[in-house]
């Protein structure tokens, strides 16, 4: 099965949906989940094939890589595709007035996300990124409430600004090198070492960072997450933010490894961690606490990415995986406790299972030892000590201080949950929604199998062929060979 189908099938289904629901109105309800389920099966099959025969390069349209667009069917791309399909299926929104149109948007989001995860062409990445972005603007406004509409419009303006800046970065890269293919750009690092190359990286970090909740353009995050349905917030914080990071990961691993522009990403990450955790400490309702904490976590991922190297990339991937499983579960569990944090008093005793799991998941975000979040932060600190020559102490100090703040606000919530308060009134929402339970089970599996997952992530990073690894290991295939010849197909 060609992995291109992962993109084509959901888009085809989305195009047909508006016509199909004119024939039978119920189509709008079952069509979307069914197609995403089929796409999930295809993604899993393609992923398994990569496990068996290794990463493949696909020349779209039969035009070999620098002329046409190259797709990478590699560990990273297909793992992300599987997780995206799964997350969209599990977190399908329910409280939407217009189900058919939301289905269409989610189908497009699925197809575009798969494309974004696999594309190895700079402008094609931009197109898929923009497609994911427009779909999320729609999703953010899906419940039709006034606050959600305002949040969505602000998000759209920041997103459009970011996309324009990212496109400017791409224009700079193209003006300097005359190509858009990532593999080919990887061999032109000297052309990109001047101010134009560094500036291009900075612009792309800012632009793609909008979706990844990175520092300068992330003030849409709390408003959007506070006013959308919790499933939509979970989807956006859980997986869509990771797609933005994925683009940066590919860019850094293949093109900009060792560029001085990475210093900028490092400080973007640090500022994200510090501002995010401080804002979360000051936030007054649950949704905003989770949203700001998400900004902090993505900041950590950005720091890990900027440090690069095998350790840095694996730290970034573990932190992302941890956040991917924990944050949706937290959003769904916290659905039972809307509004101000003050109203939490004693609510935990009414729903002990949900409250205990909430605390457990929060512990992993903080980074308490046996949990996956600890390994992410541990590897991150390891990468700082090995890669940063001066100022490592300051960096570590800032991150540890942010962790203390993080611990402080989560413990405050825990104390309120289990503290004394009025007897909790009855609520229709159960303590642990079924979907949240699935995420918790996956999280527990990750906690038990951290070692094996870590080994797989090592393979994922090796599949990216970052430059330093390419030099270190002579048995890696020559990247130039896959550029000139037509890539092998599955």
């Amino acid at each position: 099965m060609n992995p291109e189908i992962l993109i084509a099938l959901p888009l085809l289904a989305a195009f047909l949906l508006p016509a199909a629901r004119r024939i039978d109105a119920s189509v709008g309800i079952w069509w979307g989940p069914l197609v995403v389920l089929a796409n999930l099966v295809i993604a899993a099959m393609a992923w398994w094939k990569v496990q068996l025969i290794g990463p493949q390069s696909i020349a779209l349209g039969g035009f070999a890589a620098p002329l046409g667009i190259e797709l990478r069917a590699d560990h990273l791309g297909l793992s992300a595709a599987v997780l995206l399909n799964l997350a969209v299926l599990l977190l399908w929104p329910r409280e939407t007035p217009d189900k058919a149109r939301v289905s269409t948007i989610l189908l497009v989001l699925t197809g575009a996300g798969c494309g974004l995860a696999m594309s190895a062409d700079l402008f094609n990445l931009y197109v898929f990124f923009e497609l994911v972005a427009v779909a999320t603007y729609g999703l953010a406004a899906a419940n039709g409430k006034g606050e959600a509409l305002i949040a969505s419009l602000r998000y759209l303006i920041l997103g459009a600004l970011g996309s324009a800046l990212a496109l400017l970065g791409i224009a700079l890269v193209y003006a300097k090198t005359g190509t858009l293919n990532l593999t080919e750009l990887g061999g032109m690092s000297e052309a990109l070492s001047g101010p134009a190359g560094i500036g291009a990286l900075v612009l792309m970090v800012v632009g793609f960072g909008v979706k990844a909740e990175l520092f300068p353009l992330n003030n849409w995050v709390p408003e959007v997450y506070a006013h959308t349905e919790s499933r939509v917030s979970a989807l956006m914080a859980g997986i869509i933010s990771k797609l933005g990071i994925l683009v940066l990961l590919r860019l850094i691993a293949e093109v900009f490894g060792g560029s001085p522009g990475l210093e900028f990403l490092l400080w973007v990450g640090v500022l994200g961690v510090v501002t995010g955790e401080l804002a979360a400490y000051g936030a007054k309702d649950m949704r905003r606490v989770l949203a700001y904490s998400s900004i902090g976590q993505m900041g950590l991922v950005a720091v890990a990415l900027a440090l690069g190297g095998e350790t840095g990339f694996i730290a970034a991937l573990i932190l992302m995986l941890n956040h991917l499983l924990v944050k949706p579960a937290l959003f769904l569990i916290a659905d039972a406790w809307p509004g101000s944090l003050k109203a939490l008093a004693g609510k935990g005793r009414a729903r002990p299972l949900g409250a205990v799991l909430f605390v457990l998941l929060a512990l992993s975000l903080i980074g308490v030892p046996p949990l996956p979040g600890f390994w992410g932060k541990y590897l991150l600190l390891d990468a700082i000590f090995t890669n940063v020559t001066e100022g490592a102490g300051l960096l570590v100090g800032l991150i540890l201080a942010a962790t203390v703040v993080e611990a402080a606000y989560f413990f405050r919530i825990a104390a309120r949950l289990f503290g004394s308060g009025e007897a909790a009134e009855e609520s229709k929402i159960p303590g642990l929604p079924a979907v949240a339970a699935l995420f918790v089970i996956a999280f527990l599996a990750l906690s038990v199998q951290t070692g094996r997952v870590g080994d797989y992530l090592k393979e994922v990073v090796h599949g990216l062929q970052p430059q330093e690894l390419r030099m270190a290991q002579s048995d890696f295939p020559d990247p130039a060979a896959s550029v000139n010849g037509k890539g092998e197909r599955l």
Binding site: E4, I5, I7, A8, L11, L12, A14, F15, L16, P18, A19, A20, R21, R22, A25, G28, A59, L60, G61, G62, F63, P66, L67, I69, P97, D98, K99, A100, R101, T104, I105, V108, G111, A112, F123, N124, V127, F128, E130, L131, V134, A135, Y137, G138, A141, G144, L149, L172, A175, K176, G178, T179, L180, N181, E184, G194, P195, G199, A200, R489
Partner: protein, 242 residues
Amino acid sequence: MRQFASLLFLFGFAFFLSVLVGGLPFGAAPMQVGQAIVEQNIEATGAANAVTGVLLAFRGMDTLGELTILFVAATAAGMVVERRKHGVSRDSVAGFILLAGAELMFPFLLILGAYVILHGHLTPGGGFQGGAILAAAFFVPFLANPGRAFQGHAMAFVEAFAGATFILLGIFSIFREGDFMAPMFLGTGEFGQLVSAGSLPLLYLALGLKVGAELGSLVAEIAAAPGSDDPLIEEPQAAKDL
């Protein structure tokens, strides 16, 4: 204060941009890939217009993505606007001359749009430009008389069919050529003829119809949205779902 801070930021950004732009070559484009495409375009795609070759053949996936962005933006816009019953518009119907002019322009714009789309592989123009003209053909009469219904069933089917054709041609080529979105399974044909360049004219036709339909419905969504002082008429949920 706010103004001052933003001015300061802008000066900084302007300086940053001037440093970036200062190092760029001009007039000596490093046509790493562009030169290869200019040389191979006719042989590979049979299209005289190299931009068309790039858009539909070499970088077809970008075009599919861009088409989908229009589609999803129109879908999201349709979700956001509140519905107003047809015919209860407070927007005034235009005068006789404008109405007649709009009706007169309709066939003219339609033919012009079709011409621009179908000659996209030979001359400047193509699916985007022709699609925008098609959209104008539909929304100019609509703007002159805002009360009339814009999107009927036929429109929805044209839209779905055009979008699906673009992808189905791509999937079809998997079976003929082994590659997704390989446009040449019909052969390149005789250079310079209207029917040549493989499936490019077909792709452009699908693209043009889809772009026209989506741009038209975006304008229609905005034109049909109730203004600030219009009374809100809630349609029953079932009607909106249909």
